[in-house]
């Protein structure tokens, strides 16, 4: 890839010319198709049948994968280690959750036509202003992108303008998500406090408890992942992507050749936050709840582990990492829950010390070895 001229195609279509993207999209859509077929076409008793629970689980993994792609965009290509992407994910999730809460209507426990149950419980008289409009799907869906985008814009504007980067940025992003977690735990915030938002019923008229809706959400998440991946790929293969890499490796130099580094950082950071918000919005209807624990610093830093394990600055590595770690988590917490934190901690240490390029790095090394092997045999024949 490095040894070619930057292509002259339009930036959005550029990724389709890459082999890595073609393979990735191929694998992703095959997986979506296989799961759908095994779920729909095979009878319940068949050993290959994928049940609704598993479909739901895969859907969750895919939304995590999208989140990981968003983190890889800023960390891998821009060198900004955000320890607060969980916050953007959660805000997107809350925006979706608010829409789903409003969709419950008067079917809640207290039967109030407008107010969600927790507000009735807290004796609130009317809907707070920031809950207005969330009964309309288009508004809520716009907010899924705009709310995290706005937060990233304000925060990033302040941070990048003052050239807060590196470890400092990591620490203050962590403080940001921590502060938000504390805030969302408060009942007075009007987001359901400790319990968050839950007991959802339907999304766009589809019953969230039906298996078909679950399959639909799974497929939608897969498509969103594909689109997010292509968008990120388009960004990193554009000239802007090369400016990002330049910024990552030599920020001062990039400034001296005339790029307003802080604006580029801000732009990519905001795009990434919006993708994270979208991932959160797809996650919430699948797990049926959103609460402040998604803001916890541990979750945000875990996302970074997914990316590190999969391999930084590859995008597909982030997807692999997210799925691997979360699959391991599902297995571990089922079999030996106490061991999970040990395993997670060990992964952090091992990946950073022994596997700095992640799984993707291993794959690439292997392929290169095969290629040079082939070259060797060719030479020998010649």
């Amino acid at each position: 890839m490095m040894s070619q001229l930057p292509s002259s195609q339009f930036w959005l279509t550029r990724p389709f010319g890459e082999r890595a993207t073609q393979v990735f999209l191929g694998v992703l859509f095959t997986a979506l198709l296989v799961v759908t077929v095994l779920h729909v076409a095979l009878p319940q008793g068949s050993p290959l049948h994928v049940n609704a629970y598993t479909v739901n689980l895969f859907g969750k993994y895919l939304s995590y994968a999208l989140l990981a792609v968003a983190v890889d965009l800023v960390w891998g290509y821009l060198g900004i280690l955000s320890l607060g992407h969980g916050a953007f994910f959660a805000i997107g999730g809350y925006a979706m959750g608010m829409y789903l809460m409003r969709q419950i209507g008067d079917r809640g426990t207290y039967g109030h036509p407008v107010l969600p149950d927790f507000m009735v419980f807290l004796n609130w008289e009317s809907l707070p202003w920031y809950w207005q409009g969330f009964d309309m799907a288009w508004f809520a869906f716009a907010m899924v992108l705009l709310a995290p985008g706005m937060l990233a814009l304000v925060f990033g504007f302040l941070a990048f303008r003052s050239r807060v980067t590196g470890v400092y940025l990591s620490i203050i992003t962590q403080a940001l998500t921590f502060a938000l977690m504390l805030a969302f735990f408060r009942n007075e915030m009007g987001f359901g406090g400790n319990n968050g938002l839950t007991d959802f019923r339907e999304l766009l008229g589809f019953n969230l408890r039906s298996n078909d809706t679950r399959l639909g959400l799974f497929l939608a998440t897969g498509v969103a992942l594909a689109l997010g991946y292509i968008l990120c790929r388009a960004i990193v293969t554009s000239k802007l992507g090369r400016v990002c890499v330049a910024t990552r490796d030599a920020e001062a130099r990039t400034r001296f050749i005339g790029y307003r580094v802080e604006r580029f950082q801000l732009f990519v950071f905001v795009v990434s936050a919006m993708l994270a918000g979208l991932a959160g919005a797809l996650y919430v209807p699948q797990v049926g709840i959103i609460n402040p624990s998604e803001f916890s610093p541990l979750f945000s830093i875990e996302i970074v582990l997914w990316v590190a394990l999969g391999g930084r600055a590859t995008l597909y590595g982030a997807v692999i990492g997210a799925i691997l770690v979360n699959y391991a988590k599902t297995i571990f917490t089922g079999v030996m829950p106490d061991a999970w934190l040990f395993a997670l901690g060990a992964m952090f240490v091992l990946v950073t010390v022994l596997l700095p390029k992640g799984v993707a790095g291993l794959l690439r090394k292997r392929r290169r070895a095969v290629e040079s092997d082939n070259a060797g045999t060719k030479e020998a024949i010649a």
Partner: protein
């Protein structure tokens, strides 16, 4: 410069009248004009009442012992360091003290660092592509396409710096000298009016040095070039006019011969280093 101050200095065009993006005005000769510039770090004056004028198209060498303030002077011109006092003008229209690094860069001042910094994971070609004078705002950068014109321009510079063979290699694998040339090439892509070159031949072999001297003298005339260098042999081989800095201000200025016969210079600088100067 605040509005009030701009009223006080009656010899200049008001800042708000002069369009910021207007081309450099060199009708009056100098392209760079520094007056009474002082920088102090915690009381230590790295630059002390420095006055320096560079003419358009000139090739100027700046020499001076360690700590004379050469790098700090470059930092001031490129906007990295703000002086405590003084004024710095680019042409007779642009007050550099009101601008930040990218603004100054896009005005046409290019800088090569002491330690070569190129973008190591990007290819030589991509390094030049990024440096090229172009619309460097976000969306034009995002949607930029590779045209034949751009390719030709990059190829031309590749030829000048002699890296055509290595164009698709990552810049990280280049030798030290090649990185220095790539950096000069990146400066050329910006089509600068003024090139600031910090120790271009440090760690180079004889042949590389010769090639660099050729490159820099070839540039002068089209562009103004300021070279900061320790290597006296190299300075002698390219210099037309030399400025000696000492303790943050100008000690002597003139041709290499004039300067090296100046008793002050001999005392503080050349005297300690006689053989190299000869």
């Amino acid at each position: 410069m605040s509005l009030l101050q701009s009223f006080k200095t009656r010899d200049r065009v008001f800042d708000f009248i002069a369009p910021a993006a207007s081309p450099v005005d060199v009708r009056h000769g100098p392209i760079l004009y520094m007056e009474d510039v002082t920088v102090s770090f915690d009381g230590f004056k790295a630059i002390n009442k420095l006055n320096l004028t560079i003419d358009d198209g000139e090739l100027r060498c700046i020499i001076g012992p360690n700590g004379a303030g050469k790098t700090t002077m470059m930092d001031i011109i490129t906007g990295k360091t703000r002086p405590t006092e003084g004024s710095v003008w680019f042409g007779s229209r642009h007050n550099l003290l009101n601008m930040n690094e990218p603004e100054i860069a896009s005005l046409g001042i290019g800088r090569k660092f002491q330690k070569p910094t190129v973008f190591e994971v990007l290819s030589v070609f991509e390094n030049l592509e990024l440096a090229m004078a172009a619309d460097k705002r976000i969306f034009p950068t995002l949607t930029a396409r590779m045209t034949g014109e751009i390719k030709d321009r990059i190829d031309e510079v590749l030829e000048t710096i002699g890296l055509t063979q290595l164009r698709f290699q990552p810049a990280g694998i280049l030798s030290h000298g090649q990185k220095q040339w790539l950096e000069i090439g990146m400066l050329l892509m910006q089509r600068p009016r003024l090139l600031l070159v910090d120790e271009p031949v440090a760690g180079m072999t004889e042949q590389e040095m010769e090639r660099t001297a050729e490159l820099l003298t070839g540039l002068a005339g089209k562009q103004s070039v300021v070279v900061v260098e320790h290597d006296m042999g190299f300075v002698r081989s390219i210099a037309r006019k030399v400025t000696v800095l000492h303790q943050g201000s100008v000690l002597a200025e003139g041709s290499m011969d004039q300067v090296s016969s100046d008793p002050n210079v001999v005392e503080v600088y050349l005297g300690a280093d006689d053989e190299e100067a000869a």
